[in-house]
Amino acid sequence: MNPETAAGLYELLEQVTGYIYPNEIEIHWSILIVAYPYLTGLVAGAFILASLVKVFNVKEVQPVYRLSLLTALAFLLVAPMPLLLHLGRPERFYEILLTPNPTSAMAMFGFVYAWYLMGVLLLEIWFEFRRDLVVLAQQARPPLRWLYAALSLFSKDISDGALAFDRKAIRAITVIGIPSAFLLHGYVGFIFGSVKANPWWSSVLMPLVFLMSAIVSGIALVVFLYMVLTALRRQPIDMACLDKVTSYLFYAVIVDFSLEALDFIHRLYESEESVGILAKLITDKLFMSLFVLQILLGMFIPLGILVLAKSSRRFNDDLRKLLYFTAVILIQLGIFATRWNVVIGGQLFSKSFRGLMTYKMEVMGIEGLAVTIVVLVLPFVILAAFVRLLPTQRLAEREAAGAAALSGGSR
C-alpha cells in the first residue's frame, strides 16, 4: 500500500471522536462526488428555466432561453467526468452500460444520462438552432461554414413550414424534457436517499430536495451567466427578463428551504436512534458548511436581498442588478455547500452511531481540490465556445435587439 495514503489514514485515526467501525476511517466519496450532483443540478435547473419559455409561454424569459439550453449542455457534458475520475477502476466504466445491474440505482446512470443528453437536450438544441445554423452556413466563410453545415446536419430547409415543424418539435421535446430533467436530478437524489444504512441520506424527501435545490442553482447560474455575458458584450440587460427570472428564483429558494426545513424538523421530531449522532454531526462537523454557508449565506441572506430588491420601488436598475448579482453568487455558494453537506456530511459519522470521522481533502491528487476545480471550470470553457459559435438570440431578434439598443442609446 502507498505509504503516503497509510500515513494520511493514521493521521485521520487520531482525529476520530467516539467509536467508528475500523473500515470506516477512509472517506470514500470525495469532493469529486460533491461536484457531481452540483453539476447535474445545474443542468436540470437550467433546463427547467428554459422550459418555462416553451411550455408555460413565459415571454419575459425568452432572452435567456438559448443561454439556458447551452448552459445545460455544457454542464451535462462535464457531469460524468467527476464520476469517472472517482472510480477505482475507471477503465471498466463501460460495464455500467453493457452489464448494468437492474436493481442498482447507480446502474441507471448511463441510461438516464444518455436519454437526457440525446433524447432531450441535443434534440431540442438542434431544433432550436437549426434555422440559424442554416443561415450561418450560408453566410460564414469555409472552415466555419463546414462546421455550421455539419451542425445543422446539412439541412437546408428554412421554409415557414419547416420552421413551424421545428417549433412544434421543440414544444414536444420540452414537454418530455421537464419530467426528464426531474428524472435526471431526482435520480441523483434517489442514489443518496435510498441508502437505508445511512440515516443522514435515507429520506424519501431526498430526490425532491435535490430537485428543488437543482432548480435554484440552475436559475441562479443562468442569471449569473446572462449578466456576465451581456456585460462582456456591452449589451443592455433586459430588466423585465431579469426581474422575472429572479422572481422564479425567489420562489424556488422558498420551496427549497421549506423542503429542507421539513426534512430537518421531521428528523428532529421523530428523533430516531441516529438523532444523537446526527446532532453531533451538524454541530461538530458541519456547523460552518451547514449553518453558515448553506443556510445563512446561501439562503437567508440571498432571500433577504431578493425581498429587498423586489419590495422597494426606489431601487433603480443598476442597484437591482447589483443586488441580484450578489444574491445569485451567494446562492451558488450555498448550493455547493448543500451538496457538500449531503455527500461529505453523510460520511462523517460512523454507522455504529457512536463516533465521527474527519475528511481531509486532497489538494493535488486525482480526487483532490485541483481536479475538482478543473471539473467545475471546464463547463464554463465549453460554454464560452458554444456562445462564441452559436447565437444566443435568434438571428433576426438579435438584429432587432441591436437596433432597439441603438435607438435607446440615442434617446
Partner: protein, 247 residues
C-alpha cells in the same frame, strides 16, 4: 514414421484417452460428490460470552485472505464494550492500534464488559448486492456474498450501502473487498480461518440446510439475535448473548 506405425499409435492412443477420462471420473467419485452450491446455505453463530478478545481470528483472517496489514482494512474485527452503570458504553476496536486507550479506567467503573467479533453478516437481503451497478457483488446459491474483483468498478456504493462497515476498498486493486466466509475453504469442506483458530469455540460455522450442522445445533441451544434487525437485511451471522448496546 510410416503409415503402419502411425495406425498402431492411433489404435492405442484413443482407447488410452478414454481410459484416462474414466479414471478421472472414478477418482472424482472416490472423493465424494462434486460440490453442489444449491444444497448448502451457510451462516455463522457467535457466542459472545466465549470470546476472550485474543484476536487470533483477525490475524488468521488477514493471513488467510491476504488482507492489507494496516489497521484500516478488516474482514473481521473485535469490538470491546465496557458499559458504565449509567448505561453509557465505551466501545473500542481492539485491533486498531495507534489510538490512545483509556488505561486509567478502573474495571469497577463498568457493570458489563464483553467482546463482540464482527464480520460481514452475509445478509440474505444484502443491500450491497442491490446497489452494485455492475453486479460485481453477488450472492452465491449457498448464501455467501462475494465480490468479483475483476468486475468491480471501485465506485464504492456498496461500501456506503453496508450498514455494518464490513467493506473496504482494497488499496492494491482499488476494488471493494470484504469477508467471504473463506469461500475457497468452505467449498472444500473446511472451516473459515477465523472459526478454525478460535481457541474458545466462540465462532460456529455451519450449513443451515443440514440438520446435523453445528450452526443448527447452536441455534437450537441458544437464543440468537442479529445486528440491526430493523434494516431487514436478514443477516446470517447469529449472535448468542448479544447485548442491546451492540450496533
Amino acid at each position: 514414421m510410416n503409415k503402419r506405425d502411425f495406425l498402431k499409435g492411433a489404435i492405442l492412443f484413443f482407447p488410452a484417452g478414454g481410459l484416462l477420462a474414466m479414471a478421472r471420473d472414478a477418482s472424482g467419485k472416490a472423493n465424494g460428490k462434486a460440490y453442489e452450491p444449491a444444497s448448502h446455505f451457510y451462516g455463522m453463530g457467535i457466542e459472545i460470552d466465549k470470546c476472550i478478545g485474543c484476536s487470533r481470528c483477525v490475524e488468521a483472517c488477514k493471513a488467510e485472505n491476504d488482507v492489507p496489514a494496516e489497521p484500516f482494512y478488516f474482514r473481521t474485527w473485535i469490538e470491546r464494550y465496557q458499559i458504565r452503570p449509567s448505561g453509557e458504553s465505551v466501545v473500542e476496536s481492539i485491533n486498531v492500534k495507534g489510538r490512545k486507550r483509556d488505561e486509567a479506567a478502573d474495571d469497577r467503573d463498568f457493570v458489563r464488559t464483553f467482546f463482540v467479533p464482527k464480520l460481514c453478516n452475509q445478509c440474505a437481503h444484502p443491500p450491497c448486492v442491490q446497489v452494485c451497478p455492475v453486479g460485481a457483488t453477488f450472492q452465491t446459491k449457498d448464501g455467501v456474498v462475494l465480490v468479483d474483483k475483476d468486475r468491480c468498478l471501485g465506485c464504492r456504493y456498496c461500501i456506503q450501502a453496508c450498514p455494518y462497515g464490513a467493506r473496504y476498498l482494497d488499496p492494491r486493486t482499488h476494488t471493494a473487498d470484504k469477508c467471504t466466509f473463506c469461500y475457497h475453504r468452505v467449498v472444500k469442506g473446511l472451516q473459515p480461518a477465523c472459526v478454525e483458530v478460535c481457541p474458545t469455540g466462540a465462532r460456529i460455522f455451519g450449513d443451515l440446510k443440514s440438520r446435523a450442522s453445528r450452526l443448527v445445533r447452536f441455534a437450537r441451544m441458544n437464543k440468537v439475535h442479529v445486528l440491526k434487525p430493523a434494516l431487514n437485511t436478514e443477516p446470517k451471522v447469529y449472535y448468542a448473548q448479544l447485548d442491546g448496546e451492540v450496533r
